[in-house]
Symmetry: C2
Subunit: 86 residues, 2 copies
Amino acid sequence: MDSASLELFGLLAGAVTSMGFIPQLVRGYKTKKLDDISYFMPIVLAFGMTLWFIYGLLQEALAVMVANTFGAACCLVLITMKKMYS
Amino acid sequence: MDSASLELFGLLAGAVTSMGFIPQLVRGYKTKKLDDISYFMPIVLAFGMTLWFIYGLLQEALAVMVANTFGAACCLVLITMKKMYS
């Protein structure tokens, strides 16, 4: 697989992983309940995704950078929503 | 940053991201309640992480492979727990 195809595959993987948080945010927004979510999950994930972003930066892997920016942002939104609804 | 240090940094990032699911699993195990969690979140994340695993395989990036194997496994455990407790 050539470099461009690999990067494209990474972007696909990143898009799917990032989208994973969307249904949780939608559900939380609809039910206004996020009690069963542990604060530590989005906090630790946001921290880890920031590290992945730096890894992507050092590797010059755009897919890793984009995916983790979006993912970390979703985690921060989730933390904010849980705080608002509790 | 040399290749070995970069891989080590990736492993650190992977370790932190993977650990993010642990507090959620612990909380779910303690409270026996995972109602506020959307099934789609762990399902989509497990699928995305499988794609990341393949990306890591093609890139020969061990950190990406290890982190996403563990993360996907945690997502599958979360799905199983939510099913059991509902």
